[in-house]
Amino acid sequence: MKGNGEIRIGFYICHCGSNIAGVIDVERVAEYAGTLPGVVVSRDYKYMCSDPGQDLLRQDIAEHRLNRIVVASCSPLLHEQTFRRAAEAGGINPYFVQMVNIREHGTWVHDDAEYMTGKAMDLARAAALRVYAHQPLERKQVPIKPDVLVVGGGIAGIHAALTMADAGKHVYLVEREPTIGGHMAQFDKTFPTLDCAACILTPKMTAVRAHPNITLWTWSEVEKVDGFIGNYTVTVKRKARYVDEDLCVGCMECIEACVYKRGKFDDEFNVGLSKRKPVYIPFPQAVPPVPVIDAGNCLHLSKGKCKDTCVEICGDRKAINFEIEPEYQEIEVGAVVLATGFQPFDATRIPYYGYGKYPNVYTALELERLVNASGPTGGTVRLPDGRTPERVAIVHCVGSRDEHYNRWCSRVCCMYSLKLAHLVKEKTGAEVFNFYIDMRAPGKSMEEFYNRVSTEGVHLVRGRVADVYAEQTDEKKTNGQIGRVVIQAEDTLIGRIRKIPVDMLILSTGLQPQHDSEDIRRMFNISCSAGGFFLERHPKLAPVNTFTDGIFLAGTCQGPKDIPDTVAQAGAAASEALALIDRGVFELEPNTAYVLEEECSGCKSCIPLCPYTAIAFEEEKKKAEINEALCKGCGTCVASCPSGSIRQHLFEDEEIYREIHGLLAYA
């Protein structure tokens, strides 16, 4: 064979206790395998994967000058690496090993001993014929760039960035809003402990800005991603802020000086509950503490005509600059942590909850702003007509657990609904009704929190709200007061329909993927789960990895979770990224596809087919070229190439034909 000298195969069949030997007559298979061409040693053994089993391989390689190994045992997914390592330790190329799966594909699914013994022989023959043609292959190593990119500056991104920066890595943190902080920055208190969100978040935000290892780019978005594990080239668009971050001292005098004497445009941070000026800062503790100018509403930028009072007051600091253009920065990073978070369900999609129809129907996020001491009302909960509500209802599961909207449980809304119940009660003394389907309080201290809020006298009604409508009153609308809305639901525990008129209704909207999560998914070449959240490589064993090496997930972009879990996951993502980067190099599996350059006609048909975008067109040579670092060896291109000019290591035509031949050769 191709100058490999004499082929000497060792065949091993594993008993796997009684898993295999309980059905298959392993001795007969071993005896049969011994008669196959090239097989010089054939054995059965109790546990091939055990240390003595591996020793057996090594000894035989030395003693019998074996240069090919076939192990008939479990799935290669489990032990291919084990036996390759053993072969390597014995002194032969690890790719001279072929496995035969007679457990998952055999004894676990068949109980007919005779049939299975025959099938094992067929598979053994195919493997022995195949391994005959194996070529030595080499694992290549690619160096890994030392820097990291974190996309999204919510609590997940902040925590991941700080962890990696503290470990000495240079981190680029890209956030599309003018400030970092994410949703957590909007809350007053956080369940289950009711600690003040700002008190625990803002120190971390400032730490990000102060950290010498973090480059913080707010008001920025990732535009383009090229490359592969360890070697990503990322283009970041820094949107025009019109206030120079280097020159601004954060005095906020420009906001004061703006020709608009008071806010006129919806304040995004306060979810529209207040108005801001065209030059603004989302909230006083924003990081960076640099205002941003909203080009659509700024008179200078949109109309070209303004007294420029902001520029005037900024004076010598010269931080305001209307000439600033969007800037594109290209960075090279070894790993990426995606932490783009969630967006709340749009409550207008359920018309019978009356959001947008009645002024006293709020979303939970709006309430978070209302109860917040630094919110639009300074933390007092008032109705739009200025009154303090006397009765408040909170509806759980809005848009969640519902086949019409989002199927999943949003996990945090039961607890934040209880939190809001507590806060509303505390601030207004109102009677509060929580309408829930199931009270979900898993996790540390959550049940205790549930217990605490129940004993505070919140009415917990088990029933999903079925209808919300204006209370019909006889008197005509009374001096501008907002009428009550009636909450109609079955109280399933007493089996009665309840109609409870309330002054204020709060909708606990669920968590769903960001509106542009599909774009991000495509850009980073990862997958999404059914609902659109980013998909982890394994739900239990690789929860922060993706199917693309070097891209990690943190926080709610992967699925709904609370702050404690978000932070834990962010830490995990950071340490996975660190582990990768600190290794310095990445080993590539050699079973990749390669193009036979002379034969490639340059038809480009393989390029769009590759699911990993590993194939590029080499313009000069007019040939397709496969990047081994990106190729996962799926074989799609190999099968598709019309001129047969793509081949794949470990899946060479000869190897496959021999295997088929072996399979079909049963007597």
Binding site: P351, Y352, G463, V465, A466, Q472, A489, E490, T492
Partner: protein
């Protein structure tokens, strides 16, 4: 809303003892006992066993107790529970009719009005107990040529399935005449079955007698086979439901639509004909079958808005959240029974929302509704505040020169 043949196949085939053999039946097992169905039901507070409890009883093996109650006689097939159920359980389509049938069998005494309606439909093909021969009598009261297929069986584009209320009820006949005139002016190629037509049977299947429903399906199918036409148009949303969701189980293959969406298709030609200004404030009542079950919310409103002068105002409950007039599921013939139980009729409840809008005209698109609401108006003494009109009647009123 329902879509696709899949579901249709699921529906008739399902029986209570083989409920979990079909996917739609199995879905019942996914109920999370949230109570949305009960809370949303217009008669939920009067049911000992609203849908949620039916499901628990069924799962607990206690369904017999549910059969013994009259809870489901208060179900008006309004599809509200089904539309809002977060598990998309086909309550109104599958579970409730099956339970209702059993309850009907065990009822000590069938409410008299309903009993009469069933008997009449068996005997005469209409609940009024009118002779089949008189079914097309109304066409002599209008100056529009209307072809009856038995007399002239040449192929036709639209088979207009007039249904009982439009054929026999005096206020229904107003809508029949209006529809005929509009079809005529729009130059549609249509014909009717006349004396050969019988009740389509939708409410029959859903509310009481599956046997009767099947007999009507068989009969109407045998008549359809006699003629060549492209599609069916009907004023009665219940008939639309029957044809769209139930007849296909029996090899029925015709495209069917309701008069409102059919007229809406021709709105560009119809609008210029509407030259007479009607200075009305109109509120539109969404029929359950047309709206919740078939998704026609915008079409009726667009027709009304095409009338010069008409201003639309919405009721507290509209579109998918509209409240039933109480006529569905046999409710049409249970008014006395409800009264005996001291339950407010839904048409009376709904009228309060109508009045609250301050509208002059209540527009409807289902033949049950004209008579039900006119009755409610009379009872409440609102004759001088509100009039009830079928959309077709309003369109004809706006025709001006024609």
């Amino acid at each position: 809303m329902l879509a696709g043949e899949e579901v249709i196949e699921q529906m008739w085939g399902v029986s209570l003892d083989r409920l979990y053999e079909s996917a739609e039946g199995q879905r019942i097992l996914s109920c999370i006992q949230c109570g949305t169905c009960a809370g949303a039901c217009p008669y939920g507070e009067h049911m000992l066993y609203p849908p949620r409890r039916i499901i628990t009883m069924l799962k607990a093996g206690l369904i017999e107790e549910v059969f013994d109650s009259d809870s489901l006689f208060k179900c008006v097939n309004c599809y509200t529970c089904m539309t809002k159920c977060p598990r998309e359980i086909k309550l109104t389509e599958i579970l409730l009719p099956l339970v209702k049938e059993q309850s009907a069998v065990r009822l000590e005494e069938m409410p008299a009005e309903l009993q009469k309606a069933i008997e009449n439909t068996y005997r005469y093909g209409n609940s009024y107990g009118e002779s089949a021969r008189k079914r097309a009598a109304w066409i002599d009261t209008i100056d529009v040529p209307i072809r009856i297929l038995a007399k002239d069986p040449t192929p036709v584009d639209i088979l207009w399935f007039v249904e009982c209320d439009l054929s026999y009820h005096p206020r229904g006949q107003d809508a029949a005449r209006a529809t005929a005139l509009l079809f005529h002016l729009l130059d549609l190629d249509f014909a009717i079955l006349g004396p050969e037509e019988r009740c389509a049977g939708d409410c029959g299947r859903l509310s009481w007698e599956p046997g009767l429903a099947e007999a009507l399906v068989d009969y109407n199918l045998s008549i359809f086979e006699k003629y060549r036409f492209n599609r069916i148009v009907t004023n009665d949303p219940h008939a639309l439901d029957a044809f769209k969701y139930r007849y296909p189980m029996f090899e029925f293959k015709y495209k069917t639509t309701a008069t409102v969406p059919e007229l809406h298709r021709h709105l560009d030609r119809l609008a210029p004909m509407l030259s007479r200004k009607l200075d009305y404030l109109v509120t539109y009542h969404d029929s359950c079958c047309l709206g919740r079950h078939n998704g026609f919310y915008d079409e009726p409103r667009a027709l009304l808005e095409a009338i010069p002068g008409v201003r639309l105002v919405e009721m507290e409950h509209t579109r998918e959240n509209s409240i039933c007039c109480g006529g569905g599921g046999g409710g049409m013939w249970l008014d006395t029974w409800y009264k005996q139980q001291d339950i407010e009729r839904l048409s009376d409840r709904r009228l309060r929302e109508v009045i609250a809008t301050g509208a002059d005209v209540l527009a409807v698109a289902c033949p049950y509704e004209v008579s039900r609401f006119e009755d409610a108006v009379k009872l409440a003494g609102y004759e001088d505040r509100i009039i009830v009109r079928d959309i077709t009647e309003l369109l004809v009123e706006a025709l001006g020169g024609h």
